[in-house]
């Protein structure tokens, strides 16, 4: 029995995009970075959060009386009324969810033991066989719950299930580094090479990330690089050039996946009542083609998406 607990905010059975073959993708909560373009904001904090689907809220007030912290108030706007949650008062007790009659309130984040989570992903095992798939742990950042992730990887590997990690590469602990080493494949995000700009856009410097990347490369760990392309943030020719030059030297890098900016995450900011700070346009098709050609010039196998 393994009772180490971790917090998970989503599980997809049958993903075609998170690594080779058909995958079960587990999204862990908690991330050391705060990328301005983050499309999974519900993955940032390490505790459960209330999800508010405003369209369903009928402003009945049941949750207001149900909240022991008095964190919920009624908000009356031009388009009608709905509740709002004072997130600094919210303790995540989730009592409000039970009182909501419409389903407007829900929860991001659930705790699982390693065994419980393994039983859930194992249900897809037959699909891995023919497709050469497996489990992908993403998030959030999987090294952020290092002890849990390590145990989970071990459990999968004991059962001959391939494990990929979708990681930002930022970890400073010995256990976090172990997590990266023990996975079969890393989907390694590279958000920019200029340390200062990296701090501005993500909240942390990229020095540790680059160091980890080089060390893992030296150890021969299979790596697929994921490059989020966010116009105005990391798509300058200088950054792209520096990135391509670095990657061209890394022998463990099997492929580079360009991840063009998309707006699918917007709705989750609304659900968390957070502001969406970014105001950029998704990449045009021409620009995507241009970028592909750019990386190909460096002899790198490159594609759009994962």
């Amino acid at each position: 029995m393994n009772n180490t607990r971790g917090i998970v905010f989503h599980i997809i059975h049958g993903s075609f995009v998170d690594g080779p073959g058909i995958r079960t993708t587990v999204f862990l909560k908690g991330c050391p970075l705060r990328c301005v373009w983050c499309c999974n904001p519900e993955g940032q904090l390490l505790h459960p959060e209330v999800k508010l689907n405003a369209a369903l809220c009928k402003a009945c007030g049941a949750c207001i009386t149900g909240c022991p912290e008095n964190a919920i108030t009624l908000l009356t706007g031009e388009t009608g009324s709905r509740v709002q949650i004072n997130r600094s008062l919210c303790t995540g007790c989730m009592q409000c969810i039970a009182t909501c009659p419409t389903g407007a309130l829900d929860c991001f984040g659930r705790y699982y033991t390693v065994d419980e989570l393994f039983e859930i992903v194992k249900k897809d095992e037959q699909f891995y066989r023919l497709s050469g798939g497996g489990v992908t742990v993403g998030g959030g950042e999987p090294t952020f719950q290092a002890a849990f992730t390590r145990e989970f990887i071990k459990k999968c590997k004991d059962n001959y299930i391939h494990v990929a990690l979708d990681t930002c590469g930022y970890t400073t602990t010995a256990e976090g580094l172990k997590v990266l080493e023990e996975a079969d494949l890393l989907l390694f995000d590279l958000k920019g090479l200029d340390p200062r700009r990296h701090v501005a856009a993500t909240g942390v410097s990229n020095e540790r990330i680059l160091e980890n990347l080089k060390n893992l490369n030296a150890k021969g760990k299979p790596i697929i690089i994921r490059l989020p392309v966010i116009p105005g943030y990391n798509d300058s020719t200088a950054n792209l050039q520096a990135t391509a030059e670095l990657l061209a030297q890394l022998r463990s890098v099997e492929r580079v996946d360009l991840m063009p900016y998309h707006e699918y995450g917007k709705v989750k900011y609304e659900q968390l009542e957070k502001d969406y700070a970014l105001n950029v346009k998704p990449l045009s098709r021409e620009r995507q083609e241009e970028l592909l050609a750019f990386f190909r010039n460096y002899g790198l196998p490159v594609q759009i998406g994962g």
């Binding site: 059975h13 049958g14 993903s15 075609f16 249900k123 897809d124």
Partner: protein, 792 residues
């Protein structure tokens, strides 16, 4: 395909995209023939009627056609069959061109007059009238509530789902079959009454076969005369060839690929004109045509391109026949499809991989045609090459779905379970929407779309409908007093036991009446045992291989509802039985908290054993209950998990359910598709929920619809994943899956601008239809179904 051929295909295809016309000639000729033959044995009257139709109906050859023969007097014509159900034509004649869907081109005044003249003859004689008279009055009212389409005659359909063996006509020709009839006739003993029946049956078959030969000769003559008149030398030689082929087949054995195609097309037409019904198709056509193809290619008289062109032309021809349905039936079978099956791939009779070059050509031809009546079924066995499944998936992607994938391992087990020999089982084809059957040997008729959620509602309302208040089932007690899950289950079981006999009655009386008044000697000629036994195919000619199915609708809703009751009422005690019933009575109004709790209960389609095992128990309960009774002509009764589009009318008849579905909303589509919007865990979870069910006990098949965003299949790597996902599902015990590969944005756009999307084919329930021809409700239903979008 050759450039000229491609253009021609495109042009001919266009004619199939215009609203069909109504053909009144068959109705007129049928009526005249019956007036002339009163008092004669029914089977002889049948034969004389087909004889008259085939000799007198207007014929025509379209520009560019190489396979000829129309099923009606029109290019794309609706067949009127007053002998099955005459009353609705008179009632709905004026609205056929204006009704919300399944619309026809307006009829001329003269055509309407013809119908007004001949339809009244059938009052009291049409099969539907006889059926209504034969069903006990108090049970008759349940048709259209508990069961939809239980009587084919009510739907204006013959039993087209039969699975004939075209090899019989290809190898023997009609002449060869007639020789067997003669021999059989010569051996009859007229002192034995049964032999007298056989005499009339065999005589009728002979008349119909003779008439089919005559019909082919009419086409030979027409082609020859057109050849003389045409100024185009290329077309002249084509017409001369057509004339030569039509004067040779189906009378004689086919010698070439082209002859074989023309021969089966004439047989198909003769059957359609005698017994127009959806589901009649071409079975394992890549198998029985292959020897002709191979020989012609080897002899250098046929190229791959020629073959491709002929196959495309055949697909187009299939779309030239339409069966008009009364409005009530069109709700259930909407979309003008004939589901003419073409079953490809799978195993050979002796257990080898059956995929051949022709299997691929059929796929390639479909890519060019992509109309709605040709129905492509891909049999997938472990031995089936990936290349073939990949090619099929590519075509499915190009066609936004359409193709059906079935699992050989599962189907073969089903047929063995039903008592068929292994070499029969391996040779199965899929007819109609989802029914496995053995060409030439067995009759496995589906039908009777049965409202299982209603039965649960009755258990939760003391036998009364929550919609009408009417007492429909037995009184099983005030559900507020149920003290355990077992009591709920027992009440449901009692409702099932009480209502299934009526459902079987509708089906059996229907078959009995077809056998008595509208048998099908021409179809019987293409079964191996019918001549020998002297019995019609509907009348037990294929014994002992006969099954009659009931199609169970809304099983996922029943499973979800029972799981919610079990968990929330009796295990977690979060809702009292009384509160649940109050909530259902009020359609959850004022009970939003209860509704919310119910919504959160385990739902089928997420690979959750808690609810999936209950779904399976419901299937087993019904399979056992239905299996207790032998049907007409000794048929084994079995079940399918299919609703076609009856999930919508079924929903109208059912109030709020404990699964959180509100009154009047459609129940789950397809048959075993999770209720829309509830499968939120990803595609493999949905597939496994379905694959783990005991499909062997649902021998007549099942339907799982899944919607995929085209983005998820955009390149070869993803397509490979898709292929392996389908294979894993089928090898893990799945029976059937079909896909809608189209974004909901496209569909919304099509609702707004139907004219731009006339050729937008989507899978509706178990078959494909033109999206824009469907009702708004059905369109909304399709859009609302779960879409697997990858945004993480």
């Amino acid at each position: 395909m050759k450039p000229g051929a491609l253009e021609k295909i495109k042009k001919l295809r266009e004619t199939m995209l215009t609203p069909p016309e109504i053909c009144v000639e068959r109705a007129y000729l049928m009526t005249e023939a019956y007036k002339e033959s009163e008092g004669e044995p029914e089977v002889i009257r049948r034969a004389k009627a087909l004889d008259k139709i085939l000799r007198e109906i207007t014929i025509g050859i379209e520009d560019g056609e190489l396979i000829v023969g129309r099923g009606t007097s029109k290019k794309r014509g609706g067949i009127i069959a007053p002998e099955i159900n005459s009353r609705w034509y008179l009632e709905e004649m004026e609205t056929l061109s204006t009704r919300p869907w399944d619309r026809f081109a307006p009829m001329t005044e003269a055509e309407k007059e013809t119908l007004r003249q001949c339809l009244p003859y059938w009052k009291g004689k049409a099969l539907y009238d006889r059926w209504c008279a034969r069903i006990p009055k108090d049970l008759l009212k349940l048709h259209g509530i508990v069961q939809f389409g239980g009587a084919y005659c009510a739907n204006n359909q013959y039993y087209g789902h039969n699975s004939i063996d075209y090899e019989i006509v290809l190898s023997k020709g009609i002449n060869g079959i007639q020789k067997e009839i003669e021999d059989k006739l010569a051996g009859l003993n007229m002192a034995v009454l049964e032999d007298v029946e056989k005499y009339h049956f065999l005589t009728a078959m002979n008349i119909e076969l003779e008439a089919t030969k005559y019909f082919a000769r009419r086409y030979a003559a027409l082609a020859a005369s057109m050849a003389e008149r045409t100024p185009d030398p290329g077309r002249k030689s084509e017409l001369q060839k057509i004339a030569a082929i039509c004067s040779r087949v189906p009378e004689n054995p086919a010698r070439t690929f082209h002859e074989a195609l023309q021969s089966i097309w004439f047989m198909y037409l003769a059957i359609m004109m005698e017994s127009p019904g959806p589901g009649l198709g071409f079975l394992r056509i890549d198998q029985y045509l292959y020897p002709y193809y191979k020989k012609d290619i080897e002899e250098g008289i046929l190229t791959k391109e020629d073959a491709l062109e002929l196959l495309a032309l055949l697909y187009i021809k299939v779309n030239g026949i339409v069966i008009p349905y009364p409005m009530e039936a069109a709700k259930v079978f909407g979309g003008f499809t004939l589901t003419a099956n073409f079953t490809l791939g799978g195993l050979t009779r002796d257990g080898r991989d059956a995929v051949n070059e022709l299997s691929y050509l059929f796929l390639e031809a479909e890519k060019e045609v992509a109309l709605n009546s040709e129905d492509i079924i891909i049999r997938v066995h472990k031995k089936t090459p990936d290349a073939f499944v990949m090619k099929a998936c590519e075509v499915a992607r190009a066609l936004r779905g359409k193709l059906k994938f079935v699992g050989d391992e599962t189907v073969i087990q089903q047929l063995l379970h039903d008592g068929k020999p292994i070499e029969y089982a391996r040779n199965y084809a899929i007819t109609g929407c989802n029914s496995p059957t053995v060409p030439g040997y067995s009759l496995d008729l589906p039908g009777g779309l049965t409202n299982i959620p209603l039965m649960l509602e009755l258990a939760l309302n003391d036998g009364r409908s929550r919609v009408t208040g009417e007492q429909i089932g037995p009184r099983t007690g005030d559900p507020r007093n149920f003290k355990s899950y077992q009591e709920v289950w027992e009440a449901f079981k009692k409702q099932v036991e009480a209502l299934i006999p009526a459902c079987l009655l509708f089906r059996n009386v229907d078959k009995q009446l077809f056998a008595e008044f509208l048998p099908s000697p021409i179809q019987s000629a293409l079964y191996h045992a019918c001549i020998e036994k002297g019995r019609d195919v509907i009348n037990g000619g294929t014994a002992p291989y006969i099954t009659t199915a009931i199609s169970l609708g809304g099983i996922p809703n029943v499973g979800d509802s029972l799981a919610a009751i079990k968990k929330l009422v009796f295990e977690e005690k979060k809702i009292s039985m009384a509160r649940l019933i109050d909530a259902l009575d009020n359609n959850f109004e004022g009970y939003e908290d209860t509704w919310r709790l119910l919504q959160g209960a385990p739902k089928f389609g997420n690979n959750d054993d808690y609810v999936d095992s209950i779904v399976n128990e419901v299937i087993l309960l019904l399979s056992n209950e239905v299996g207790k009774f032998k049907g007409f002509a000794g048929a084994v009764s079995n079940v399918a998990l299919a609703t076609i589009t009856a999930n919508i009318p079924m929903g109208f008849m059912v109030g709020a359910l404990p699964d959180g579905r509100k009154a009047g909303e459609p129940v789950a589509d397809g048959g075993i598709s999770p209720h829309r919007g509830r499968n939120i865990s990803g595609p493999t979870a949905t597939l496994m929920s379905v694959a783990k069910l005991d499909h062997i006990r649902a021998t007549n098949g099942s339907v799982l619809n899944m919607k995929f965003n085209p983005d998820t299949l955009k390149d070869e790597v993803k397509m490979r994943k898709f292929v392996s996902m389908i294979r894993t599902y089928l090898e893990a015990g799945g029976f059937f899956v079909q896909f809608n590969i189209v974004g909901s944005n496209t569909l919304r756009e099509a609702q707004k601008n139907p004219e731009k999307y006339r050729d937008l084919l989507v899978r509706v329930a178990t078959y494909s239809a033109y999206f824009v021809e469907l009702s708004t409700e059905l369109q909304d239903d399709i859009i609302a179904r779960m879409e697997f979008r990858e945004v993480y």
